[in-house]
């Protein structure tokens, strides 16, 4: 419904010389900017008629001061036409497709008629895309013509040399077309033919792409700045305009005095250069214009383009009020829904609260407290819309006058809802709503469990906080964006919020078979979990009362909850349980809310662990239940970890002498195999693998020997010395941190270091370091590290390790920038898609993209790893207590 003040469409065109003159208030004729008194010279680039910009200055054109003067354009009459760089490509297209003599489209009369008819039909059908393709087709066809079908004139190839020079390739030689000639040709193109080529002769005649008049933007577009020294510094555009005017005047003079052609040509080129760099100072193929200081000037294009340009920087991206940013730090005592806000920030951020009979007393108190004392208020808005700053008024008196209809901008306080965000905001869970907890100190505090969705850690990360100001915005935030609503990720429906690191090792230790708790332990643990209910019966009575960790977990599970799953520690073959009767305790079974056997680890309570205990809790009992479980039970895990004194040190990685010798033996054996290979290669007995050279084959075999095979053999040799009583193993096996490879690397051997998947071979000529003989192919000379971190590396090994480590670092740096850009393009391409009520995916214009969202119409967030229904779980849920 196009109504008043409603934009239905926008059309872009090119200014014609007439239009430029018509909208101009004055011709700019002199390159002198100010006179000796520092006043702007009339007819100069800072002519006063171009708009008022100084305080209290009155515009001589519109009579407004600088606040309401819109600014006015001037113009420069160019002595000779000049190509507009931004249109060079279009000009090239017109020149190629039309006759150089008669200016008509190089397509025969009948065909022209046919295309015109076709375009008219497409227009009626509203098929914009097809129209574009027809234009493209016509262009290609016309450009291929070597003889004009209308006048029969021979046509030559026209070459565009970037950025703005055109050449005609005749038989007798290549000839340059100057802008005047170009313009003459463009003028001859009939309107009808412009339309056939996809142009609009009313809004953009081709010859307007060659400038004869240059518009001079208002002063407000290019304000000069007054430096502290009192010296005026002009804007880059003004500088460029001065250059243009100077060159233009010189050119006109040369023309008037009838100077030789070569000199005119030279000045003309200079004018072209200045006009080009005025528009775009990064046009390919020309030198960038610089200040005297060597600083690169900013052209009009540079103002608009790129991340900090007008569009991305100022229009799509704006700065906002009611936001805060500071370093984040962890606080496991907060709920996952909460965020700790420093009191200093809470005193600055405000929420507008409307005065009602029910809150007037409270708000009076806040007004009296004022901006300094928390909880207070910073502003009061009167019913007439006036805003009163509480810093400068008698707050007691104002508080008295407070009545319904007033709005108090009060400090942020506990229970307020805010949006919390960490960049890069790659998915929707990078911004979630949190409930405020005002805390001392200067960092934002957040529960550790919400680190994964933000991808946050505490090595100096900063996060942003925004305070919604409207009732509707707050309601939406609370209902749609609250952290607990995002425990499941929209990526695949698994929990992205869940236990990590300490939580997991703590859960394992607590639920471990060998853990027996005394009465005091139980009281302490249930205390931190905020348990209110009957004290559980001890599991063991003789020789004393003892409780198991599993019992404590059971207290918090819903009474009809069934769950059966192999624990993470069961993923290692040695600890796998096939059925419930198993000594490893690696099968987790919960029947009717009773935690019977198994241990909790990453597979049950971890983040990004689909089909886990918390996953089913969220799905079957709601986000709220799951959140409470995370807020309370997870705290027990941490507390138990602390009580237990879970720690890891150097000694946990030490191997007995026998094992060390065994490892050395294995290493020596593999090394000898490598030497044998090298010998074989030197004797020429090595058979090349298919598709590889002899050298490549040798490298492949050596890498094969030294990395995979060696590490496997070493890992096999040392595993007997590590078991689940070792904290390092607990962490690795439960999924808390690290993996068995890390363990081997620490305890025994780092192995072969690689760069780009190859052994290290760069450095000096034919050798990696001066410590080796040239051509040495042995393991040590090519980055093999025969020691683990416990033993320590020798200097050469340390160097190789650093080299390989550096590669990983640069790789991640490169990857993040690349995937960031990919993400940007992807989001830009997909942002307007939407799933309609009929399940189709469409563009805003109604074009269909998918006939059913994702072919199956399933919302991944509500699915089980993409599956709409996981039938096994449904069975388990209902009769799981019986099987």
């Amino acid at each position: 419904m196009p109504g008043k003040g409603r934009i239905t469409s926008i059309k872009f065109g090119i200014l014609s010389p007439d239009e430029i003159r018509k909208m101009s208030v004055t011709a700019i004729i002199t390159n002198e900017v100010y006179d000796n008194d520092g006043m702007p010279i009339d007819g100069g680039p800072m002519d006063r008629r171009l708009g008022a910009i100084e305080p209290r200055e009155v515009c001589p054109v519109c009579g407004n001061t600088r606040d309401s003067c819109p600014g006015h354009f001037g113009h420069i009459e160019l002595a000779k036409p000049v190509i507009h760089v931004s249109f060079a490509k279009h000009i090239h297209m017109y020149l190629r497709t039309t006759c150089r003599v008669c200016g008509r489209l190089k397509i025969s009369e009948e065909e022209r008629k046919k295309y015109m008819e076709l375009l008219k039909n497409l227009d009626e059908l509203g098929l914009k895309y097809l129209k574009k393709r027809v234009h493209e087709y016509i262009r290609r066809k016309a450009a291929a013509q070597t003889k004009c079908p209308h006048c029969g004139a021979k046509q030559y190839k026209i070459r565009l040399e970037k950025p703005y020079t055109f050449y005609e390739e005749r038989e007798e030689g290549v000839r340059r077309l100057n802008p005047a000639e170009v313009r003459k040709r463009l003028e001859k193109i009939p309107n009808e033919d412009v339309r056939l080529l996809g142009g609009d002769p009313n809004e953009a005649r081709p010859e307007w792409m060659v400038l004869t008049v240059l518009p001079v933007p208002p002063r407000a577009v290019r304000p000069s700045i007054l430096l502290e020294t009192g010296i005026r510094s002009e804007d880059d555009l003004t500088h460029k305009l001065v250059d243009i005017i100077r060159s233009n005047n010189r050119l006109r003079e040369l023309l008037d005095t009838g100077a030789p052609n070569a000199i005119i040509e030279e000045e003309w080129n200079l004018l072209q250069y200045h006009v080009t760099t005025y528009f775009d100072n990064q046009a390919p193929g020309i030198a960038v214009a610089k200040h005297r200081s060597g600083k690169v000037l900013k052209g009009i294009t540079q103002r608009l383009k790129g991340k900090e340009g007008r569009f991305r920087g100022n229009l799509s991206g704006k700065r906002v009020d009611f936001s805060a940013r500071t370093v984040i730090s962890p606080d496991p005592n907060l709920s996952i829904n909460e965020v700790g806000v420093p009191i200093d920030i809470a005193r600055i951020l405000t929420v507008p609260e409307r005065v009602t009979p029910w809150n007037v007393d409270e708000l009076r108190r806040l007004v009296i407290n004022g901006p300094e004392k928390w909880p207070g208020a910073n502003y009061v808005i009167k019913p007439d819309g006036r805003k009163i700053n509480l810093k400068y008024v008698d707050r007691k008196a104002l508080a008295e006058t407070l009545a319904p209809g007033y709005i108090v901008e009060r400090h942020l306080k506990d229970g307020d809802i805010v949006l919390f965000n960490r960049q890069p905001s790659l998915h929707r869970i990078s911004i979630m709503a949190h409930v405020v907890r005002v805390l001392p100190y200067k960092t934002f505090r957040l529960n550790l469990l919400v680190c994964p969705p933000y991808n946050a850690d505490f090595d100096g990360d900063e996060m942003n906080l925004h305070v919604p100001q409207g009732e509707e915005a707050r309601a939406e935030a609370r209902l749609l964006m609250l952290v607990e609503k995002h425990i499941l990720t929209p990526r695949y429906g698994g929990p992205i919020i869940g236990g990590l690191q300490d939580y997991i090792s703590g859960a394992f230790l607590l639920t471990n078979k060998s853990t027996l708790l005394t009465r005091e332990d139980v009281i302490e643990l249930l205390g931190v979990a905020g348990y209110e209910g009957e004290f559980p019966e001890p599991a063991i009575l003789k020789p004393g009362s003892y409780w198991t960790g599993k019992q404590l977990i059971s207290l918090f599970l819903p009474k009809d909850f069934n769950y059966k799953r192999l624990a993470k520690i069961g993923s290692a073959a040695a600890l796998r349980c096939i059925d419930e009767d198993c000594p490893h305790d690696s099968l987790v079974v919960v029947k009717k809310g009773e935690f019977l056997i198994g241990v909790l680890d990453k597979a049950s309570i971890g983040h990004e662990a689909p089909e886990s205990l918390i996953h089913w809790l969220v799905k079957e009992y709601g986000e709220d239940t799951a959140r409470l479980f995370m807020d309370y039970v997870y705290k027990m895990f941490l507390r138990f970890s602390e009580k237990y004194g879970f720690t890891m040190g150097y000694t946990h990685l030490l191997l007995p002498r026998k094992a060390r010798e065994k490892v050395k033996e294995i290493i020596l054996e593999k090394k000898n195999e490598v030497y044998e290979l090298i010998e074989k290669y030197k004797r020429g007995e090595l058979e090349p693998r298919p598709g590889r050279t002899l050298e490549e084959t040798l490298e492949d075999e050596i890498i094969d020997l030294l990395s995979k095979k060696l590490l496997d053999a070493v890992a096999e040799a040392i595993t007997p010395y590590f078991n689940l009583t070792n904290p390092v193993i607990i962490m690795a096996r439960t999924g808390a941190r690290g993996n068995p490879v890390n363990l081997t690397q620490m305890a025994a051997i780092l192995g072969q270091q690689t760069i780009r998947g190859k052994r290290i071979s760069r450095g000096y000529h034919n050798r990696t370091l001066p410590h080796f003989k040239p051509g040495d192919l042995g393991p040590e000379a090519r980055g093999f590290i025969a020691h683990g971190f416990v033993e320590g590396l020798n200097p050469i090994e340390m160097f190789f390790h650093a080299a390989a480590g550096r590669e990983g670092l640069t790789d991640t740096a490169v990857r993040t920038s690349q995937s960031g850009y990919m993400q940007r393009r992807l989001i830009n391409a997909l942002q307007d898609l939407r799933v309609e009520y009929d399940g189709t995916v469409r563009l805003p214009t109604g074009e269909i993209v998918q006939f059913r969202y994702g072919e199956d119409g399933v919302d991944p967030m509500k699915s089980d790893h993409g599956e709409a229904v996981k039938i096994d779980r449904v069975i388990e849920k209902v009769i799981g207590w019986r099987i």
Binding site: L130, Y137, Q850, E855
Partner: protein
């Protein structure tokens, strides 16, 4: 070079999902159901081998029935259009 001696019907190839031309009645019904104009359907060029094999003409609508790992079977439609970007023997 040995010349092509026999034609195979690509519609019967196992990697080609089932394509069929809608009858005018079906087409009208589909458009009504989706509440759109034909041009708002995804397009398929007349030069597409499948369109050639079906002997469909510009303006026809083609139904594609695919096997889908998630949905079992998924149905899509294509609107046959002339691709103007590829110059052919007899103009457009």
């Amino acid at each position: 070079m040995p010349q092509k001696t026999h034609h195979i019907n690509i519609l019967e190839h196992e990697l080609v999902p089932k394509h069929e031309k809608l009858t005018p009645q079906e087409a009208v019904q589909l458009l009504k159901q989706l509440g759109i104009k034909p041009a708002q359907l995804p397009w398929i060029t007349i030069d597409d081998p499948v369109v050639k094999a079906l002997k469909a003409k510009p303006g026809d609508i083609i139904r594609i029935i695919r096997k889908s790992p998630t949905a079992g079977e998924s149905i899509a439609y294509r609107y046959v259009v002339v691709d103007t970007l590829q110059p052919k023997k007899r103009g457009v």
